[in-house]
């Protein structure tokens, strides 16, 4: 089994993702500079957080138009796993791997804080180590993380089981007060049409060891590993 973590100019969570996959979960992992392209088959590709190309134009817009993203689309099209975290989520949405867009927070400031997430789908390749309805604790760090979709699409995604995570309070209620950036229906983790792509604004790699304050994020990577092992 082998994971890949992409690196664009401005990626800054690439080594964190690598650390969780390689050092915490014990899985082979390559860091791939975007100009190299994805030269072999990987079981999973992670698009990490950061500020690719300074978020010029729009978060993720420029990274999305680099040639390596064609490799990512082919990888996803073959049914293999893609995880986009934060800037990776913005890139995933810009590239059409999931519907919608992640744009400026409702209150337009950078937010860096711990949030609670409700697990909406515990059957996807990324979430089988969670229980449906479980409340987990993972940090966010973004200014452009408000999930926007055309009218009706958010509800449709929820009904179709394509929402992995929603912002909630400690009791698991998805209220406006527990929605830090104004995302549609508190949605912050979206699955692609075939379930093999997940993009999310919160940072599971920053909550993968107890010493960091929570290890709730680790189970996301363990879910991916279990899914690959069971294939």
């Amino acid at each position: 089994m082998r994971f890949a973590v992409l690196q664009f100019g401005g990626s800054n969570c690439d080594h964190d993702a690598y650390h969780v996959v390689h050092d915490v979960c014990g899985v082979d992992c390559d860091l791939i500079w975007y100009k190299e392209g994805i030269g072999r088959e990987y079981d999973a590709v992670i698009i990490p957080g950061g500020f690719s190309y300074g978020d010029y134009l729009r978060a993720g817009a420029i990274a999305t138009r680099t040639p390596i993203m064609q490799d990512v689309l082919a990888h996803a099209g073959a049914g293999r796993l893609v995880l986009g975290i934060c800037n990776g989520a913005q890139i995933g949405a810009e590239s059409g791997l999931v519907p919608g867009v992640f744009t400026t927070n409702e209150y337009p400031k950078f937010i860096c804080e711990w949030v609670h997430l409700k697990v909406e789908n515990a059957t996807s390749p990324f979430t089988t180590k969670y229980r449906k309805g479980e409340v987990i604790r993972i940090p966010i760090a973004h200014k452009e993380g408000r999930y926007v979709v055309p009218p009706g699409v958010g509800r449709q995604l929820l009904d179709e089981g394509r929402v992995a995570f929603r912002f909630c309070n400690e009791a698991g209620e998805c209220t406006p007060a527990s929605n830090p950036n104004g995302s549609e229906l508190n949605i912050t983790g979206v699955l692609g049409e075939d379930g093999n792509v997940l993009v999310m604004m919160p940072h599971p790699e920053r909550a993968a060891e107890g010493i960091l304050g929570s290890d709730d994020g680790r189970r996301l990577f363990e879910s991916m590993i279990a899914h690959i092992e069971n294939q």
Partner: protein, 81 residues
Amino acid sequence: MSFTANITISLKEGMLDPEARAIQHALSNLGFETETLTTARVFSITMDVPTEADARIRAGEMCERLLANPVIHSYEIEVLK
């Protein structure tokens, strides 16, 4: 021939514009009450193409492929000689 395309990218009508709201609030603090305030981004691009129509088509392609995100943006193109 050289043409300049002025491309204006704005949020679709009804889209929340947090930056506009913040600016409107700041103007209000300075005593400037405003009814509405919207923001937009303008790209001024010169290109060497045979006709004005070609410049417009190229500019449209730029919007579709990179400059605008159709989920939230609309765009207008003005071509000058």
